[in-house]
Each structure stands twice: as structure tokens, then as C-alpha cells.
């Protein structure tokens, strides 16, 4: 067996990768799962899986694409587990976000900013699952439709259609905010 010090060195080394990717991963997972605790768990699942499967990584895709695919799967697993739990429960959990207060900025701006963020998140939540998924990966994850196609197994043309529909819906839903902000 590995000595304790060796293992901790290995984990410490992997921590650099975690630091580099965790914020983006958390954003994507949150948009996917719409629940911070679930998103947190999904991100941890994904990193642990990535660590134990690094030897399956092939260099035809960048690491980030490979890792995001693992993350997407982790989110899907969490989502399914949640659906199974929900079916067992009489009442669904409230998945709505708790609006968190902004930090500095005037009260008016803060209020508008918070309301705007709520509006964006509500509009994104109303998107159909596939559109939300593609939107999260393309837009929040900063990935091109081609990368998202590799991550999700969807055809690139399908990714583009979902993205376009998502953006179209969001623009329609949030159009009224353009002059307020």
C-alpha cells in the first residue's frame, strides 16, 4: 500500500487541477441542478471520478472537454437520484434559489441587480432541460457548440438548434429589462 505521505502528495497535486476548474464546474452544475448543495455534490463526484479515471483520458480532446463530460454525467446522475427521491416524497423540495444580498453598490442598484439576476435565473429555469443544458455548457461554461457536442454526445447541429432556441426564448423573456438596467 502507499504510504500516507505519498498519497497526500498525490492528492495535493490533483488539488491544483481542482482549483483551476472548480469554479466553472460549480457554475455549470448549479445551472444544471438549480440547487447549490446538489451542485456541490455533483462537482465533487465529478472530480473524484476524474481522479480515479485519469488513465482513460485520451488526448483527442482537451482535458476540460473530457472533464466536463464527466461533470455532465455526474449532474445527470444527481438529477435522476433527485427525481427518484421526489417520486417517493409527497412534496417536492423547493428548488428555488435563495436570493443572496449583493455586497457594495447603492441600495437601488443592488435591488435592480438582484431583481435582474433573479429574472435571468428564473428565465433560464423555465427553459426545457436540453436547452438549459446546452445554454449552461455553451454560455456559462464557455464552450463552443462543437465542444458541447463532444461532451454530451448530441450532434453539433442539434446543439446549435438548442442554443438558438434557448437564446431566442431568453431574449423574449428578458427583453423588458434592457432599458431598466
Amino acid at each position: 500500500m502507499m504510504a500516507r505521505g505519498e498519497l497526500s502528495a498525490a492528492r495535493e497535486a490533483f488539488d491544483d487541477i481542482v482549483v483551476r476548474h472548480q469554479r466553472r464546474a460549480s457554475r455549470i452544475a448549479l445551472m444544471y441542478l438549480r440547487d447549490a448543495a446538489e451542485a456541490d455534490e455533483a462537482v465533487q463526484d465529478a472530480f473524484v471520478r476524474a481522479f480515479t479515471r485519469l488513465e482513460t483520458y485520451r488526448d483527442e480532446h482537451p482535458f476540460e472537454v473530457w472533464f466536463t463530460r464527466i461533470l455532465v454525467n455526474a449532474c445527470v446522475d444527481r438529477q435522476r437520484a433527485r427525481q427518484r427521491r421526489a417520486r417517493r416524497l409527497v412534496a417536492l423540495e423547493d428548488l428555488a434559489f435563495e436570493p443572496a444580498a449583493g455586497r457594495s453598490a447603492s441600495p437601488e442598484r443592488r435591488a435592480v441587480g438582484l431583481a435582474w439576476r433573479e429574472a435571468v435565473n428564473a428565465a433560464v429555469e423555465r427553459l426545457p432541460a436540453r436547452q438549459r443544458e446546452v445554454f449552461a455548457l455553451c454560455h456559462l461554461g464557455d464552450h463552443t457548440p462543437r465542444d458541447v457536442s463532444m461532451m454530451t454526445g448530441m450532434r453539433e447541429s442539434t446543439v446549435r438548434v438548442h442554443l438558438f432556441r434557448a437564446v431566442h426564448k431568453l431574449r423574449a423573456a428578458l427583453g423588458a429589462w434592457r432599458d431598466l438596467r
Partner: protein
């Protein structure tokens, strides 16, 4: 003779934004067509606004404390799921917007030779600015070999080192190294 005037539709504009690659026909059109230029600007403003709103929202939920706790959670779980053999590759990992694929970030190479009592951790430098930079600075990678315990074969390490110098290390080479070094698979115990 009247030519129907062409203007890109919203889908084309969105593709231009999402792909981050040049679209010569579109670029030429945008250079002179002010209405389309304004349409693209408006779309970009919307997209960037949503990005900011969603990112701020997520970052507030995942503040520094939570991210630190997340890392601790991962570390704890890694302790329960020890891979005998982990072979990563140079990875593009910069979170910079608009260039997600173009960068090479640090990679970790763990070679655990548990039976032989040999364990090494090789790590690329913290900041590798570009593939070209890493190619031009072999000594940095060599210097980054962080932990080499007794029993390590210098030639073997050099091979790994050389393989790591290229941004896209040939899989065949790493497979060869993989074959060369023993595996410890039985101790993998993923926590669920």
C-alpha cells in the same frame, strides 16, 4: 437589375458569437452594414449580461469558503478512492473566456509503484504560458519533478518528462510508459 440584399439571420449571428471563429462573409458584411452590426452588438450585450448575472449568482452560492470546503470534500473522498495508477496528460485548463481550448495548463502525473515501493509525483510548472513556451523550456519541467523516491529509474523519468513537454503527448508513448510501469488496481475503492 435588382439584387436582393442579404443580411445574416439571428442564428448566424449567434453562431458567430458562440464559435469564436472568423466568419469572413459575416465579418465583411458587418463592416459596412450598421443595422446588422447593431443587432450583433445587442445580442452580445444580452448574452454577456446573462452570463454575468448567472455567474454572479453561482459565484455567490459558491463563495471562497464553499469552494474551499468543496476541495476538502474532494480530498477526503480521494483518500477513500486511491487509484493505483493515474496517468494524466498536459491539459488545457485556463478558465479564461473565449480561449478555452488554446491553453496548456499544469498536469499531474502520478506514478504509483506500490509493490516496488516507488512512488513519484511529477508536476508541470504552476504556470505554463503556452505550448511553445513549454517546448522551449525543458529544464522547467525537469525541475518540476517534485517527488521522486528512491528506486526511480532515471531513464524512465526522462521519457515521461519528454512526453510531458509536448502539449499533446502521443498516446502511444504514454501507453508504452503505462505498460512499462506496474499497475495497482485492486486498491481502488470508489466511495458511493
Amino acid at each position: 437589375m435588382i439584387f436582393a440584399e442579404w443580411h445574416p439571420d439571428d442564428e448566424r449571428l449567434l453562431g458567430h458569437y458562440a464559435d469564436r471563429t472568423a466568419d469572413q462573409t459575416l465579418d465583411q458584411h458587418l463592416a459596412w452594414c450598421r443595422p446588422c452590426h447593431r443587432r450583433l452588438s445587442a445580442m452580445t450585450r444580452d448574452l454577456e449580461g446573462w452570463h454575468l448575472a448567472a455567474a454572479e449568482h453561482a459565484d455567490e452560492a459558491f463563495d471562497h469558503q464553499r469552494l474551499a470546503a468543496q476541495r476538502r470534500g474532494i480530498q477526503q473522498r480521494l483518500g477513500a478512492a486511491v487509484p493505483g495508477r493515474v496517468l494524466p496528460f498536459p491539459v488545457p485548463g485556463s478558465p479564461e473566456r473565449h480561449a478555452p481550448l488554446a491553453r496548456v495548463a499544469a498536469a499531474v502525473l502520478l506514478v504509483a509503484l506500490a509493490g516496488a515501493g516507488v512512488f513519484r509525483v511529477l508536476q508541470m510548472p504552476e504556470r505554463v504560458s503556452s505550448p511553445a513556451a513549454s517546448r522551449g523550456a525543458p529544464s522547467r519541467t525537469t525541475a518540476a519533478v517534485r517527488l521522486v523516491r528512491e528506486g526511480a529509474d532515471a531513464a524512465d523519468l526522462e521519457d515521461i518528462d519528454l512526453a510531458l513537454l509536448r502539449p499533446r503527448t502521443a498516446v502511444a508513448e504514454l501507453r508504452a510508459l503505462d505498460e512499462f510501469t506496474p499497475h495497482v488496481r485492486d486498491i481502488v475503492a470508489p466511495r458511493r
